[in-house]
Symmetry: C2
Subunit: 344 residues, 2 copies
């Protein structure tokens, strides 16, 4: 049997804390029986939940923490009160100390990123981390980054992200040379931000063996799945991600309302129920839950704060894949092979 994948969990993170983290972990364990969990949080709350999931309990070690980081805590405050003590800090620290191969938290993004930066440090050759999201497309899925770690990016940051995104794509999509595009605007009047153009020049000239640079892509190319990896800075990436989520919700609502308006429509709905279920399944945001922090000395996955057990299990799946298929080694290999980025 191969080595187990050790995942540390911040059980107190998210809107629902242990009540979704523990059932989520149980679900993930069913899919990946080789996971071993290191769970941090309030023992009094978590222990009874673990008792209800004996298989999970057998695969887990529970460590009590007193401090939980609230969802609206400011990053600075989260560090001040949580350093060395909070369930979030401890879960990240377990990765740093080699006790875990990856960490998952549904806690607040800012606090988790601040904790991860301080605790794990940024990778060599990488100036700062980014958050990568899986994005369902017409062709399957693509990776989009940065969806909200940092506002603004120079050409070097964008090139860094192209490399890290390609490393993730290599693992997630099992591709030797994932395609990469830089998000830009396509009208003639505005030919795009200087940093984006400069990053494009660098990527084209390097012609790296581990990624195929495909030039600029526009907003509608994300959903089309034009490239495997879409790179942009954090402000635009965050707005694009949330705009797409909003549009999907909006159309879902239109659809529900249309299907319940007339008797004929309701009958039609009954006949096509299976198809509608498949559609809902395809559009289910919980299935692609899990923003991966890239550029740190360790794997940290941020689950959506409001998700349920199914969504949290998806976030654990991401962490599992990244640990199992050795994301860190893949990124390091790419950087060593052909170090690019802001220092280039």
């Amino acid at each position: 049997m191969s080595k187990p994948v050790r995942i540390s969990l911040d059980a107190m993170g998210g809107d629902h804390g242990p009540s979704i983290v523990i059932p989520g972990a149980a679900l993930a364990l069913e899919r990946h029986p080789d996971i071993r969990f290191l769970i941090f949080g309030n023992e009094a709350v978590i222990a009874p939940l673990l008792d209800a999931h004996p298989k999970l309990k057998a695969a887990s070690e529970l460590r009590h923490t007193e401090i939980s980081i609230a969802m609206d805590e400011k990053p600075s405050q989260a560090i001040r009160m949580g350093r060395g003590k909070s369930s979030m800090w401890k879960a990240v620290q377990a990765v740093r100390d080699g006790e875990a191969d990856a960490c998952v938290s549904a806690g607040n993004t800012g606090a988790l990123m601040a904790t991860a930066k301080i605790c794990l440090k940024t990778m060599a050759h990488i100036e700062r981390p980014a958050i990568a999201a899986m994005w369902p497309t017409m062709r399957g899925e693509s990776i989009v980054l940065d969806v909200g770690a940092t506002i603004g990016a120079d050409a070097g940051h964008l090139v860094d992200m192209a490399i890290m995104g390609a490393a993730m794509a290599r693992i997630v999509f099992d591709l030797e040379r994932p395609t990469v595009g830089l998000l830009n605007v396509g009208t003639e009047e505005i030919k795009g931000i200087e940093a984006v153009k400069e990053a494009g020049r660098i990527l084209r000239e390097r012609d790296a063996p581990y990624l195929e640079y495909r030039g600029f892509v526009e907003g509608d190319d994300i959903g089309k799945g034009t490239v495997d990896v879409v790179v942009t800075e954090g402000f635009t990436g965050n707005i694009a991600l949330k705009t797409a989520e909003g549009t999907a919700k909006q159309i879902g609502q239109y659809l529900r309302s249309a299907m319940s308006r007339t008797l004929m429509a309701k009958i039609g709905y009954l006949f096509a129920k299976q198809a509608f279920d498949a559609l809902r399944d395809k559009m289910d945001p919980r299935k692609v839950n899990g923003g991966l922090f890239l550029g740190l000395e360790g794997v940290v996955v941020k689950s959506h704060g409001g998700t349920d057990d199914l969504g949290f299990a998806s976030a654990i799946d991401v962490a599992y894949d990244m640990a199992h298929f050795e994301l860190m080694k893949t990124i390091r290999g790419m950087l060593e092979h052909d170090p690019v980025g802001h220092e280039a």
Copy 2:
């Protein structure tokens, strides 16, 4: 009878030129019989099309132009070869010269914006123009700007846009005090761009009587219809708009594929056909076609280049409303009443 609304058309713009512009104008005339058209373009092509629409012909004046601006023409080149001569230039010039109350073109955005800037000039108190789009939401429609006139914006530009967007909303939604939000990212780590925060401070302090500032909104608030007017700079706005379009197309494709997969689904589709048609109708991008150029001394509407006659008619509808309900006067009134913006 009230004064007719005079609209100038660049008949040669867009992917399909007069073959959609003329039938589109005929459609718009049916809805608004008080329109008078001033049509610029190649007479040899347009005259026969007008013959096929006698009512439109009676309400139109056709003026021959030799030069058409190609869809991939660079703005600088479009100005060089088109100044005083192209169908696009002439259509915009008609607004400047008081021969038309508004202009519509499906030509390339960059060329049209460059032409409009040179020919019409920017309004007093406004540093530069923006493009506003109508955006279908769960509550109806919202206005989003800038969707691609200029990359980047300082606080003053954002405040200008808030005022101009509110003026447009006052007309389109018939509201005394439209709600306005600034697009921002909501995570704790990244608290938004400095310009956005500063614009928020200005808008809050002014507490203008003609707009209700509602603070920051996130990407998913656009589709929710949280505010009547969403303000952002042109790069992010363009990406958001195209990302939403891409997501809508993607879900449409999922839906078609789901409904054709099994016999039961196909039967269901037949029963619910009317509901599906209503849904398609609701999601029809042609219905909200027409980007309004704001901040210029005249009304210019940009139709989507690839649209059909129905879409072009929608763009004319926008121009009609703005001219009929005196957008220019509304904006001027707001600026005079309480001049804000970058000079403040």
